[in-house]
Amino acid sequence: MTQTEITNEVFSVTKARLDFPALHQEIHGRPLVYLDNAATTHKPKSVIDAIDRFYSRDNSNVHRGVHYLSQKATGQYERSRQIVQRFIHAADEREIIFTSGATESVNLVAQTFGRKFVHAGDEILISEMEHHSNIVPWQILCEQSGAKLKVIPFNQRGEIDLNGYAELLNPRVKLVGIVHLSNTLGTINPVAEMIRLAHSQNIPVLVDGAQSVAHLPVDVQSLDADFFVFSGHKIFGPTGVGVLYGKSHLLKTLPPYQGGGDMIHSVTFEKTIYADLPHKFEAGTPNIAGVIGLGAALEYLQRWDLREIAAYEDELVNTATKALKQIDGLTIIGEAEHKAGVVSFVMENIHPHDIGTILDMEGVAVRTGHHCTQPIMDHYKIPATTRVSFAMYNHLAEIDVLISALKKAIEVFR
């Protein structure tokens, strides 16, 4: 395997910004201040170029042809698998399954693991702070199988109640699903500890890494995660592509997810033999350009020192939190000790939706709403929050723009 030499540059936000064409535009006559990175990130030129190059030159189907372009496309597609493997420190590239996104990855596990291992009377354990995509697939499975969905509570600061969690673990629990980094609260959950506790009762754990991959170094082996899912578009890659990591011994025991081409070894009308990992779970023509784009995104990110990025993003979150707290009538939602990437808040007398519109007029893009985490809204008895979410290309100065835009909102609503 030829590995591109990864040379870490000293992280510089000024330099990084130059790599993202979409950051350099005006919205309503103001420079764009993009603070909606938890929804999706912008893409560096290298990712856009990789996709462009694929469609303008290398376009072919994968795993199917002896001709030159098909082999070239297959080579690039499989090289992305190795890049992902190294990025999340998986033991084997065959443990990397390409999907359409984190959502499909969770559904894949729910349906295949569920079909094999989950029966009436069993339990699936997830937390109260999950994204809907790590709730609904399990509800569907529970409906199909007669299993029960149980919920791990969190405290007012937005931290998982570890004692409550330990009490919920029991032999009926067939799988634990937990978000690594909450897209609404910014909480970094103690997943390593939670996995250790689950494993002490032989319960496998699925980690939703949709938010964490772009902010925290991820090592699935040291976490000892059984499944780990994420989406390409939240880590500077294209939409429509994602990853399911699964321990190979587990993936091997699971039935296929979808049937079709590419996922078989041989087909007759009497008997079909499924392909080996990872192809067993990649039925049909995959999102080839997307997978190649995702590889380019991870290579881009690895140009920088990821620890430096994490430290810089901490500074962004801390600076924003401090500045927001200075505003009268503003309450931060989610004050966990360990946070990354995300700051949510509500304001007295101004609904998040109105804040969102006013910020937009100032060029500031934030998300307002329940962020696909309605149980979190119910927990705090609020309809919605305004959410500021950072990427490594955000400037400290953009926080000043955010704050002065919020002051305008207060002015309007005075």
Partner: protein, 152 residues
């Protein structure tokens, strides 16, 4: 700032701060529930319609953004005393204005104060906020087995 003021006019801010007709109507003979799952806006509309199809009383409660709340407040003030047929007519007219289908000036005589919502034309993401109360009102009047109205 001027575009923002165009949307958040004083009348809207006033009805947001002090919503009119903001109460339950326990003996309502028509009512409906409206919900915008995307932003959590959630209202009930209550009405008493008499035997001549006149809306004798109309109130609302619930919560949401300034646009949706002031729209419910101004709508209820506007429709009190109107007939069911008129309410449906004004629904259509209001809808066409906020959707940008007709020139707001052409409807100004008929809509009066409600014309203040013409500004949402420029904010496509907010059109559903302005129209939630109206959809809910219409559902309460014309639909027999009404599901929860949802503008998304």
């Amino acid at each position: 700032m001027s575009e923002i003021r165009e949307l958040y006019q004083e009348l809207i801010l006033d009805h947001n701060r002090n919503p009119r007709n903001f109460k339950k109507l326990p003996d309502a003979n028509h009512s409906s529930e409206g919900f915008n799952p995307l932003c959590g806006d959630h209202y009930h509309i209550y009405m008493n319609v008499d035997e001549n199809s006149v809306i004798e009383e109309i109130t609302f409660d619930g919560s949401g953004c300034a646009i949706s709340k002031s729209s419910a407040s101004l709508m209820t003030s506007f429709l009190k005393g109107k007939t069911v047929a008129e309410a449906v007519h004004f629904f259509d007219l209001f809808h066409d204005v906020v959707m940008g289908k007709i020139d707001p000036e052409s409807a100004e005589d008929e809509l009066g104060k409600l014309s203040v919502f013409a500004g949402v034309r420029e904010f496509p993401a907010r059109v559903k906020c302005a129209s939630l109360a109206w959809h809910t009102m219409k559902a309460a009047l014309v639909e027999e087995n009404k599901p929860v109205v949802s503008t998304e």
